[in-house]
Symmetry: C2
Subunit: 104 residues, 2 copies
């Protein structure tokens, strides 16, 4: 697969009454995506400590094709459908990677 990596920050606000369930579905989706899809390079989800229903996900896909394929997977569609009523707002912010480093 060629092309530039797609890097994105998702900012979500979740219905506080459904936060536990949302978190479980998100964890399952991330685990499956990175394990099963070659083109999903990393998914790092965090919650803001004093506003735990505000969630941010830093997403790195190998390229546009990998991202489009991800949107069609069973695990992504399950997450998308089952969380639809839990997401109060969602902003997808295109970002440019400046320097991404982690321990091997």
């Amino acid at each position: 697969m060629g092309g530039e990596p797609i890097v994105r920050m998702a900012e979500l606000e979740i219905d506080p009454n459904q936060l536990e369930t949302y978190r479980a579905l998100l964890a399952e989706e991330i685990e499956a995506s990175v394990a099963l899809e070659d083109g999903v390079l990393s998914l790092n989800a965090v919650a803001i400590k004093d506003r735990p229903h505000h969630i941010r996900i830093l997403e790195v896909y190998a390229n546009r094709q990998a991202y489009e394929a991800h949107l069609q997977t069973d695990h992504f569609l399950k997450y998308k459908n089952e969380t639809a009523g839990m997401v109060v707002s969602l902003a997808l912010i295109d970002v440019e990677p400046l320097m991404m480093r982690g321990k091997p």
Copy 2:
């Protein structure tokens, strides 16, 4: 080293006139921190595409002690001092990791 990981999101606004220089100093600091410090687990810096002087860094340290040690390193102090006049605003947001996954 024991204790819980420290995970944080830094949100910075940089003086647009000094952005090139800032980016070079940030890249150098991230490279050195992850290469030289056992307790700096990952540093991922991105710029928002339509506002490239808005930068976000997702920072993961092994524990509080690793984070405190990081603040005393030569490479961090160089970055901090040399970028002081370039940073228009800095917010440090404590976050809780929900699910962090990446390719090995």
